[in-house]
Each structure stands twice: as C-alpha cells, then as structure tokens.
Amino acid sequence: MQERVLDCLGEPCPVPLVKAQRALEDLEAGDILIVQIDHSCAMKSLPEWARDAGHNVEIEEIDNGEWEVVIEKS
C-alpha cells in the first residue's frame, strides 16, 4: 500500500483533475492519493469524478479555501 501526495496548490480547475487522473493510473487498488488544492472548482470536479469512477473519496478543508482530497483507489 503506497500513499502519494500531489501538490496542486495554485493550479486552476482542470489541472488538478488531469494530474490526479494520471497519478491514479500508476497506483494499485487500495493505494491512496492525496491531492492538495486551493481552487474551489477543482474541489467540486475532482471528488465528483473520483466518486463516479468508483473510488473512495474524502475531503478535508485544511484552511479557508484550501483542501486535501483523499482518494483511495478501488
């Protein structure tokens, strides 16, 4: 089981999602990907996509306007 942190702070909407999609392809089922974001649109699109793709998703608000999206690949 590995865990990867993806720093997407300062990146606008589609970039965190595309990076997360690529990062998840390299991971095995059960691995965890933590995506750090500060773009409110990505906070919506990223978890939505990941849930639709069947992964477990949790969102943590670290600071006002800063989130960690925790994705467990299934």
């Binding site: 942190v5 300062g10 999602l17 639709d52 943590e60 670290i62 600071d63 006002n64 467990e72």
Partner: protein, 229 residues
C-alpha cells in the same frame, strides 16, 4: 476521517469561521446599495443584481468553461447538460418576452442584440474558447475567482482588461468591414414564432442526448480500463 486510513497526518487545520466577516460584508453591501438608491435607482439595481449573480455563480459552481472543456478533457458532461438546460429555460423566457411584445404590437425587446452572423462568429467563439481554457475561466468565472482570492486569475483579469481595451480601440474597423455587412438572422422571422422555439428546443434536446450518451460512453471506457488492470 472514518473510511480511508492514511499514513501521513493531514496538515494542521487553520480553518477559521468566515461568518462574522460575511455578515459585516453583507451589511456593507446593503449600505452601499441604499446609498446608490438615493442617487440613481439604476445603479442600485445593477449593484444588487451583479452581486446576486456573483453569489449564485460562486455557490452553484456553474462554470461555462468547464461545461465546454471537460467533455473533451475528462469526459464529464454533467455541466454541459446543465448549461444546455439553462439555455432551454432562457430560450423559453426570451421567446415569451419577444412574442408577448409582438402580440401587443410593442417593439420587440432585445432586437439590437441580434448580431450579424458569419465566419467572424465562429472565429470569435474559437478564440474565446481558447482563451477561457488557458485562463481557467470565462469572463464571469474569472471575476468570481478573483473575488475568491485565486492569484493566478488576478493575472488573467489584468490581461482580460488589456485585451478588452485593445479590442474596443479597433473594434470599429472590424465592425464596418466584416461584421455589419453580414446578415442578421432572427429565427422567428425565418421559421415563424412557434417554429423557431420548437426548432431551438429540439436542437438543445438533441445536444443534451448527445452529451449524455458521450459522457456515459467515456465513463464506461474509463472504468473498463481500471477493471482490466
């Protein structure tokens, strides 16, 4: 954190409540609005509708850029469908306003916005699309994210202003040589009042179905690929 067990600890939270600040800001907006109302009701109207629109845009995360871009980039068409539904609703609304005016013999509102149609429409739309994907937001979206404090889009806004000024400076030339000679197309004049709204709604419905099918196909392909691994 109930479900997922992570090894690393999340960074310490520095989350503070923004509600007191929000109330303060709300009162300020109201106070400025009332001041506007005394000098010019139109200004007050713009002030309140502008802020209301921004509020809805921010809370609903209604992103025109994502509605066009995500279908290609990530295969998600939820926003595409949402925008199509919005188009359908506004179509009916505008149609009702125009048809109502036509029936009672008043001048039809909004006819000044029936712009000449031609290749320049396609070229402009393409450039706008290119710009909004690179900048990470259309005009309203960029403004909304500047308000949220996203630094990169402050730069986008700066160049948005520079570009608009440049455009405004030599718009006359484009207008006279290319735009004005092109034909103005108003659908009700072509297909009749009921024909035009029917055709418009059917086209929107077909686009919605296409977006839905495309989104499901992309989703299916993506999950199929993960399952094979």
């Amino acid at each position: 954190m109930a479900g997922i067990k992570r090894h690393s600890h999340p960074r310490p939270r520095r989350h503070r409540s923004q509600i007191p600040l929000g109330i303060l800001f709300g009162l300020l907006v109201l106070w400025i609005g009332i001041r506007f109302l005394r000098s010019s009701p139109t200004l007050a109207f713009f002030w309140f509708t502008g802020i209301a629109f921004g509020f809805v845009l921010q809370k609903a995360r209604f992103c025109f850029t994502a509605s066009m871009r995500d279908a290609f980039l990530t295969g998600r068409t939820r926003l595409t469908k949402a925008v199509l539904v919005a188009f359908a609703i506004t179509s009916v609304g505008f149609w009702a306003l125009m048809f109502g005016a036509h029936q009672s013999g008043r001048p039809i509102p909004g006819m000044a916005f029936v712009a000449p149609l031609g290749l320049h429409t396609v070229a402009g739309a393409f450039l706008f699309g290119l710009g909004m994907v690179i900048a990470g937001g259309c005009a309203s979206g960029t403004l909304m994210r500047v308000g949220e404090g996203f630094t990169m889009q402050i730069i986008a806004l700066l160049f948005f202003i520079i570009g608009s000024l440049l455009g405004a400076a030599h718009f006359r030339w484009w207008d006279v040589t290319i735009i004005q000679p092109a034909p103005r197309v108003h659908l009700p004049q072509l297909f009749g009042w009921f024909g035009s709204i029917a055709i418009q709604l059917v086209i929107i419905a077909l686009l919605w179905i296409a977006a839905d099918k495309y989104g499901k196909a992309r989703q299916h392909a993506a999950t199929g690929r993960t399952a094979q691994k």
